[in-house]
Each structure stands twice: as structure tokens, then as C-alpha cells.
């Protein structure tokens, strides 16, 4: 399978799509990397409270140069700020929020997502890699709705939307919706339902470039 580079939506456009699907008043946890971009595109008039699993509800913007506080970081260890009305708490309380189903939406990156919503995003299984999982397994097990934001294919052109994950799972049946540069895809009981196609992307092209079976 070959996917042309620089087709479909840009990463910013993908982040905007995700942001549009976050409701007013939502409690949201954004994964490290591209998911963090989502915060910049929340439509005006919506108030969203960000949780970072290292112990803060009410995460604000990234700290400006020169105002960084080494003791105020997010899960990606970036220097951040806190909004008025924020709360700090310890790690067990923070993951009680996650595991207890109190966070509405979590946006994560992915190595692979399967037809059944299985997610692989922590390990390629390469024995030379040092394995590291962080909070990903707790997030997918506990947060009400899991959105995945990812390029449709790897850099070497392999589809990330697969029949079955070949990488070790983060969680089984956990993903609700996938935002790629080519499409927005819902994980449903019947399989992967394409909700929206990027400009100039046909369903046929999408299916040709996707390992998993898609529906319209």
C-alpha cells in the first residue's frame, strides 16, 4: 500500500476536527505529542477542563519562556501553567479520576487501531526497545471516550488502521473514534464506519490504503 505524502488534512486540521467534537464543560486528558495540539482549536464559547495525570485538573497553556516552573509540568514533562480554579492532587487520586470514569474524553496517538477498537500505542514489541507504558493503559481502561489522532499510515507507508493489531495492545475495544489525515472513522459494533473523508479522498482510495475493512 502506498499513501502519498501531504495529502488530506494537515495535523492542525486533524486537531481541529477533534476539538470540534469536544463538548462544552468536558473534562479532557490529552496524550503526549500531537494530541496536545487539540487544546488550541476548541471552538469559542466552549469551556474545557484539562486533566494531566501527574496531578493537576485545570491545566493551562504551556509556560512562556522565562516563566517556567520546574515543579509545574504536564504528563509529557513540558512546563505548563494552571488556570484559576485548578486543583493539585497526588498520583493515586489522579488515577482514581481516570480509572473511576470521571474523565469524559482522552485523546491519544496510536501505532495501530483495530477494527474492534483495540489500541496499540506503547510498544512495537521490539526487544531492543526499553519498554515504557506510562498511564496509557489506565487511560484507555477508565476514560469514558477514547479518541485517537494519528497519521493514517506509518512513515514507511503501512496502514495503522488494521484488521488485528500486531503490536502489543494498550487495551481491547477501547477506541471510539479515529481521526487520521484521510478520514474520521467511528468504531461501531458493526465495524469501522467512515464518518467523513478529507478533501479529494475517495472512499475507494481510503479503503485501498487501509488494512482494516471500512464501511460507509
Amino acid at each position: 500500500m502506498e499513501i502519498k505524502e501531504n495529502i488530506g488534512w494537515t495535523v492542525s486540521e486533524m486537531a481541529r476536527k477533534v476539538a470540534t467534537d469536544i463538548h462544552d464543560g468536558a473534562y479532557v486528558n490529552l496524550g503526549i505529542g500531537i494530541p496536545e495540539m487539540v487544546a488550541s482549536y476548541i471552538p469559542e464559547g466552549r469551556e474545557v477542563i484539562y486533566h494531566t495525570e501527574n496531578g493537576l485538573l485545570g491545566m493551562g497553556k504551556v509556560a512562556e519562556k522565562g516563566t517556567e516552573d520546574f515543579e509545574l509540568v504536564n504528563a509529557g514533562k513540558k512546563y505548563i501553567t494552571a488556570i484559576p480554579g485548578a486543583a493539585y492532587f497526588h498520583h493515586a487520586d489522579s488515577f482514581a479520576m481516570i480509572r473511576g470514569g470521571h474523565i469524559d474524553i482522552c485523546v491519544l496517538g496510536a501505532y495501530q487501531v483495530s477494527e474492534e477498537g483495540d489500541l496499540a500505542n506503547w510498544s512495537t514489541g521490539d526487544p531492543n526497545d526499553v519498554p515504557a507504558v506510562g498511564g496509557a493503559m489506565d487511560l484507555v481502561a477508565g476514560v469514558k471516550t477514547i479518541f485517537v489522532i494519528t497519521q493514517h499510515a506509518t512513515k514507511s507507508g503501512e496502514s495503522k488502521i488494521v484488521k488485528k493489531c500486531t503490536y502489543p495492545l494498550t487495551g481491547k475495544n477501547v477506541v471510539s473514534r479515529i481521526y487520521t489525515n484521510l478520514a474520521v472513522i467511528d468504531v461501531t459494533d458493526k465495524g469501522l464506519l467512515v464518518k467523513e473523508l478529507a478533501p479529494d479522498i475517495s472512499f475507494e482510495y481510503l479503503q485501498q490504503n487501509t488494512d482494516a475493512t471500512l464501511f460507509q
Binding site: E47, I49, L57, P84, A87, A92, A96, M97, G100, I103
Partner: protein, 238 residues
């Protein structure tokens, strides 16, 4: 935009339905959300399962709810108080069920519900009648009993100050079950003495972060249960 403040106790409890399981904060009168309980008496829902450390005093608050025959079952650690009359009478007549739970197990079962832990092992109650028919297991030579999360539909909680995000702080030992009960219910309803502006509560000192709270109503001058009991008051007021 987020604003969890509602205008009345009536509005605060408006979603409660018959047959609901409801957590009610308080250790005796300290932390008991008496105005919210009275609003629930007014609302009149029946067949309720109530989880609370005690079972009420005199004829107000939780005792009034029980006397009004709204409570099918109570889950608590200590249903007797110096001046509890309603519950003991109905219990002896077989008109109300009781599930007696050791106080620490009660707190932990509620916390577990809030934390997404369906079950855990505890040493409390092993070899006693309260562990009867429960699964036990030995860890490192000591026996523990398996206890299950105590999830609820609603919680009624009293705090000291709140903001519109639902961030809460409590007063002294009136904190007791409030924070864990806020975590364990689908819908948490809070009465607060004071509403503060967002940002007035020190983020280092927030006890219940707003994520756990659905509705907040300001009751600036809550009744003191012990005063009402001493005056032999009865709810609904006559």
C-alpha cells in the same frame, strides 16, 4: 461554560428517582447535608437505598427521611446514636433493611467505587459475623475478606465553600465521608455554606476537585441537627 451552581435545594435534588442508591455525607450531624435531605423528603422518592455512617437522630434530617418511609434499606456502620428513635423502631418492626459495614470498610468501598476498583481485600471483620459467607484469602499468612465497591446513583454532601467549577473545601471533622462520596456517585449534589469566586480556593488546598461534582447549592445558614433534636423539632416543619 461551566457553572454548577443551582438556585435551590429543590432544584438540586430534582433528578432523584425512586429506587435510587444515595450516599449521604456526615458523621452524626457533622457534615450532614440536612437541607438537601429535607428537599428529598419534600420530593418524596421511595424505595431508596441510603448509604451513610449513621441512621439519623430525632425526627429531622436522615431520621425524617426514614420516618417518611422513603428508605427501603440503609447501609451504615453505626445506626445507633444517643437520640436515634426512628430507625431502631422501624428496624425492630422489620420495616427497614440494614446492611451493617465496618466503618473503614464502608469508607474504602465508597472510595473504591469512585476510583474504579470493583473489589479489594481488607482484614477488617475477618472471623466475625460481618464476614459471614464472604470470600476470604490469605496474603503473607494473614486472612483478608473480599469487599466490593459501593457505587451510587447520587450523593448528597455538605461542604464549607465551593466555586462554580464544583471545587470544594470542608470544615474540620465535617469533612469525613464527603470527599469519597463525591467520587462514588453518578450525580453528586452539594450544599455549601459559601460560594467563592473561581480562583479563591488555593489549588493546593482543594479537597474535592470539581470533576466529581454536578450541582452546588448555597445554604448560608444550615440548621444544626443537634439544636433541632434538642428542640424536639420534626420535619416537615409544623
Amino acid at each position: 461554560m461551566i457553572n454548577k451552581i443551582v438556585n435551590s435545594s429543590e432544584e438540586a435534588v430534582a433528578d432523584i428517582f425512586d429506587g435510587a442508591t444515595i450516599l449521604i455525607s456526615g458523621f452524626g450531624e457533622a457534615g450532614s447535608p440536612i437541607e438537601l435531605i429535607h428537599a428529598l423528603v419534600d420530593r418524596g422518592n421511595r424505595n431508596l437505598t441510603i448509604v451513610s455512617n449513621n441512621a439519623g437522630s430525632g425526627y429531622v434530617g436522615l431520621a425524617a427521611l426514614i420516618e417518611n418511609k422513603q428508605v427501603k434499606k440503609i447501609i451504615c456502620s453505626f445506626p445507633r446514636t444517643a437520640i436515634s428513635v426512628v430507625f431502631p423502631e422501624m428496624y425492630r418492626k422489620g420495616e427497614i433493611e440494614l446492611e451493617l459495614v465496618p466503618q473503614g470498610t464502608l469508607a474504602e468501598r465508597i472510595r473504591a467505587a469512585g476510583a474504579g476498583i470493583p473489589a479489594f481485600f481488607t482484614p477488617a471483620s475477618v472471623n466475625t459475623p460481618l464476614a459471614k459467607d464472604k470470600e476470604t484469602r490469605v496474603f503473607n499468612g494473614k486472612t483478608y475478606v473480599l469487599e466490593h465497591a459501593l457505587n451510587a446513583d447520587f450523593s448528597l454532601v455538605k461542604c464549607h465553600s465551593a466555586d462554580k467549577y464544583g471545587n470544594l473545601i470542608y470544615n474540620k471533622t465535617a469533612r469525613n465521608f464527603g470527599p469519597v462520596m463525591c467520587m462514588a456517585a453518578k450525580t453528586t449534589i452539594v450544599q455549601t455554606k459559601k460560594i467563592l469566586e473561581v480562583g479563591q480556593i488555593d489549588p493546593e488546598c482543594v479537597v474535592t476537585p470539581g470533576i466529581f461534582v454536578k450541582k452546588v447549592v448555597e445554604i448560608s445558614n444550615p440548621a444544626d441537627e443537634s439544636v433541632l433534636v434538642a428542640e424536639n423539632r420534626r420535619y416537615p416543619w409544623k
